[in-house]
């Protein structure tokens, strides 16, 4: 088994990203879509930290990751507020059935 290098972390983050993408693309429930989104953001963050570590420039990557986390918090707060509102109006949160504009 080789020593754990940069590629190991990157592969894990790529897979995590793909799972997230899969979740975003296939799930019906809006909250599940959000979870997929969080996975994608986490994958991105892993990349940031990894590059920061292996590039020797520790601080900057971590600061970027910090920003991403803050943005993710803001995003999920807004998104969940919207989902709650949608639930109030449509009594469900399935993204494929909320098609009032289409009718």
């Amino acid at each position: 088994m080789q020593e754990i290098g940069i590629a190991h972390f990157l592969i894990v983050s790529s897979l995590l990203f793909s799972f997230g993408l899969y979740g975003v693309v296939t799930r019906k429930n809006a909250i599940m879509v959000l979870m997929g989104l969080e996975l994608i953001l986490n994958a991105a963050n892993i990349n940031f930290i990894t590059f920061a570590k292996f590039n020797g420039n520790v601080g900057f990557g971590q600061v970027a990751a910090l920003f991403v986390i803050v943005l993710a918090a803001a995003e999920s707060a807004i998104a969940l507020a919207i989902v709650l509102n949608i639930y109030k109006n449509f009594n469900q949160v399935n993204v494929d059935e909320i098609d009032k504009l289409r009718d």
Partner: protein, 713 residues
């Protein structure tokens, strides 16, 4: 007190009533006592106005007008016009302070009178608020130094008049009357607006002084004297509307639906005088033809209502027609060039006519809102103060010596007489004397029927009582002001006696010499002398300039004619006045003629007068009828000709369309349907991609990214 403090005082007086109005209208409903605030404010304004009057006349009587301009709108450089700025401004001269005093005094008296008269009204404080806004607008007219501001306040006055006439808007007649007044006024104001626009398009300014200066420099609207005359007449149209002159006089009698103190304030003393005031202001720019027009209008307005007043039975209607008649007098005076007498009559008339109205208000109040004089009679025992005041006013309006009316009226008659002698238009003098006769007759008819004889309605008579002090004191004040002592030391010398005539001088006309009356021209040699001396030395030139200012007003000729006309005119007017009173005495006290039989004998004339010369009916049938007829014709035109053309074109279109339909159906539609089927098939295919779900699109995006990656790497 200097010029600046005059301006400041004027601003204070102008805006105090507005403050009163704002406060009273906003909070009057919550705080019932707030009407006292309005009354206090008008009292303060009255105080300041008296102070301003005395200071101006005592120390600055010969000074030029005090002026102050405030930049309102700066349009910058406008194409074709150059730099355009619109200024608001205040001008204070002798006329202004006199008018200010009149407005404030009558307004204040009416305020006091109304406290008692309007007691118990459900919109009590609103009434006082309206009085406040009226006073504000009227003062705006008085103070203005330009036409635009005058127009603004002119309309504000119209608005407040509308509000006050329709104050008891639950009554249909009141709301109708307010609408009638408003609309009739608009007709006159339209002319005024046209005149203002003409002036602005020519001179690019609204300020009186600047306009006069430019006219003097020879500039005229459309470069013709005719249009100068037209401008003058158009501006005068505003006065026709506001001063209820023939033919727009019909609104004033109806306006008596408003509360009586309002009639006294607005429809007798101040607002209707605004027309005269406007004419006074624009006097220098009126050409001879315009003045003649004005004189004719004035004469007609003086005569027609006087004949109508003979037969009316409503106490306020009589006074209303009398008002129109007297306003016609003033207008006629201005028309014949008696500038200062016209204005003098405006002031004296304001006092005694306000008094008459307040007196009638007192009578109506005493009779529990009974206005028909046939229900009255013998009231002099019940209402001694009102009666005494009423007699003094009536004497004044009839032009009996020792009253103010005598002074001003005789001045006008003398001027008309002199004017007739100089120009040949003797009709004005004849009309003047005739109207004086009629005035004396109908006024004393009113007195004799109302206050003398036996009570006709015993029940109402028994309940009648003298009005409280708050109502009688204004009557007494106005009665005192109707006596000669305030105006002259010599009650019989009407021509020169008026002290004010040294303060109110006819302004020099600015119209080119060819457009004026000859007698108004300055003497040519004097002008020549001026130009000659101008070339020599400065001090002399100044001297001559001063001299010229003194003599500029009228030619010698006119002065002579006026002087010689005074005594005949005085005698004649006194004669007709006494004749009128005596006739009334014979008719209504001695009853030497059987009135009913007499009326029966002149039935057509009587009815003609009683029905106000059928003006309303005439307007109804002519204007309304004309519009109805026009609409009928248009309707026929529409139904037969327009529709016929439309129908014909329709049938043609139908035939054509039948053909075109066939082509459409088989050839064009075939093509289109084919295309549609093609498009539809594409659509069915493409629709599968367009799911409306973001996630599907995301899949497509990823797919495209992969494709792109494979293409480029």
């Amino acid at each position: 007190m200097n010029e600046l403090s005059f301006i400041q005082a004027a601003l204070v007086v102008l805006f105090l009533p507005l403050l009163g109005f704002t406060v009273t209208i906003l909070y009057g409903k919550r705080f019932k006592w707030l009407y006292l605030f309005e009354v206090a404010i008008i009292t303060i304004a009255l105080g300041i106005s008296i102070y301003m009057l005395f200071i101006r006349l005592a120390y600055f009587a010969d000074a030029p007008p005090f002026q102050k301009e405030f930049l309102w709108i700066n349009l910058g450089i406008v194409p074709l016009l150059g730099k355009v700025t619109v200024e608001l401004g205040i001008m204070i001269d002798n006329i202004t302070v006199l008018m200010l005093f009149v407005v404030c005094l009558i307004s204040a008296l009416v305020h006091y009178f109304s406290i008692e008269y309007m007691k118990g009204d459900k919109r009590y404080s609103r009434y006082f608020a309206y009085l406040g806004i009226f006073t504000f607008s009227m003062l705006g007219i008085v103070f203005t130094h330009n036409l635009l501001m005058m127009y603004i306040f002119w309309e504000l006055v119209g608005l407040s008049s509308y509000l006050l006439i329709g104050f008891w808007y639950e009554k249909k007649s009141a709301s109708d009357a307010s609408k009638k007044a408003f609309i009739t006024n608009r007709i006159g104001d339209l002319g005024m607006l046209a005149g203002i626009l003409l002036i602005f398009s020519t001179y690019h300014t609204f300020t009186f002084e600047a306009i006069f200066a430019q006219i003097k420099a020879g500039q005229m609207p459309l470069n013709s004297g005719f249009w100068l005359t037209a401008t003058g007449i158009l501006l005068f149209c505003g006065a026709i509307g506001k001063s209820a002159q023939f033919p727009l006089h019909v609104w004033l009698p109806d306006a008596m639906e408003g509360p009586t103190p309002v009639s006294a304030l607005i429809h007798a003393a101040t607002m209707v005088a605004a027309g005269v005031y406007l004419t006074v202001r624009i006097f220098p720019m009126l050409t001879g033809d315009a003045l003649l027009f004005i004189a004719i209008i004035g004469a007609l307005s003086a005569f027609i209502p006087a004949t109508i007043a003979l037969t009316q039975t409503d106490i306020k209607k009589i006074l209303a027609y009398s008002t129109i008649s007297q306003l016609g007098y003033m207008i006629m005076a201005l028309g014949v060039g008696a500038y200062s007498f016209g204005f003098f009559h405006l002031i004296t008339h304001a006092f005694f006519k306000a008094g008459l109205f307040l007196g009638s208000g007192s009578v109506i109040y005493a009779m529990h809102h009974e206005q028909d004089i046939r229900q009255m009679g013998g009231l002099r025992k019940k209402l001694p103060i009102t009666y005494a005041a009423f007699v003094i006013y009536s004497l004044a309006i009839s032009g009996i010596p020792l009253t103010s009316g005598f002074l001003s009226k005789d001045g006008i008659l003398a001027s008309a007489y002199a004017f007739g002698g100089l120009t040949g238009y003797k009709i004005f003098a004849i009309t003047g004397f005739l109207v004086a006769l009629l005035t004396a007759f109908y006024m004393f008819r009113l007195i004799f029927v109302t206050f003398h004889g036996e009570p006709r309605n015993q029940h109402k008579y028994d309940h009648a009582h003298e009005s409280p002090a708050l109502m009688t004191v204004p009557l007494i004040i106005l009665a005192v002001l109707s006596i000669f002592a305030f105006y002259t030391a010599n009650p019989l010398d009407a021509g020169k006696g008026w002290t004010l005539s040294s303060w109110i001088k006819t302004p020099p006309s600015v119209v080119p010499a060819s457009l004026r009356y000859e007698f108004m021209n300055e003497k040519q040699p004097e002008v020549a002398e001026v130009s000659k001396s101008h070339n020599e030395t400065e001090p002399v030139a100044e001297n001559v300039e001063a001299k010229k200012n003194e003599q500029i007003i009228h030619s010698e000729e006119y002065t002579h004619a006026l002087h010689s006309a005074h005594y005949p005119a005085m005698g004649l007017s006194l004669l007709v006045a006494i004749l009128g009173i005596f006739t009334a005495y014979l008719f209504y006290i001695k009853k030497v003629v059987n009135l009913d039989a007499f009326v029966e004998k002149i039935k057509p004339l009587y009815n003609f007068s009683l029905n106000k010369w059928y003006f309303d009916e005439f307007y109804n049938s002519v204007f309304v009828g004309f519009v109805m007829l026009l609409s009928k014709i248009l309707n026929w035109f529409d139904a037969n000709i327009v529709d016929g053309i439309v129908n014909a074109s329709a049938s043609v279109t139908r035939t054509v369309s039948t053909f075109s339909n066939a082509i459409d159906k088989y050839i064009v539609d075939g093509l289109v349907n084919f295309l549609a089927i093609l498009t539809g098939m594409f659509g069915i295919f493409l629709r599968k991609l367009q799911t409306g779900k973001v996630q599907t699109y995301l899949v497509m995006v990823i797919f495209s990214i992969i494709v792109l990656i494979f293409i480029f790497i």
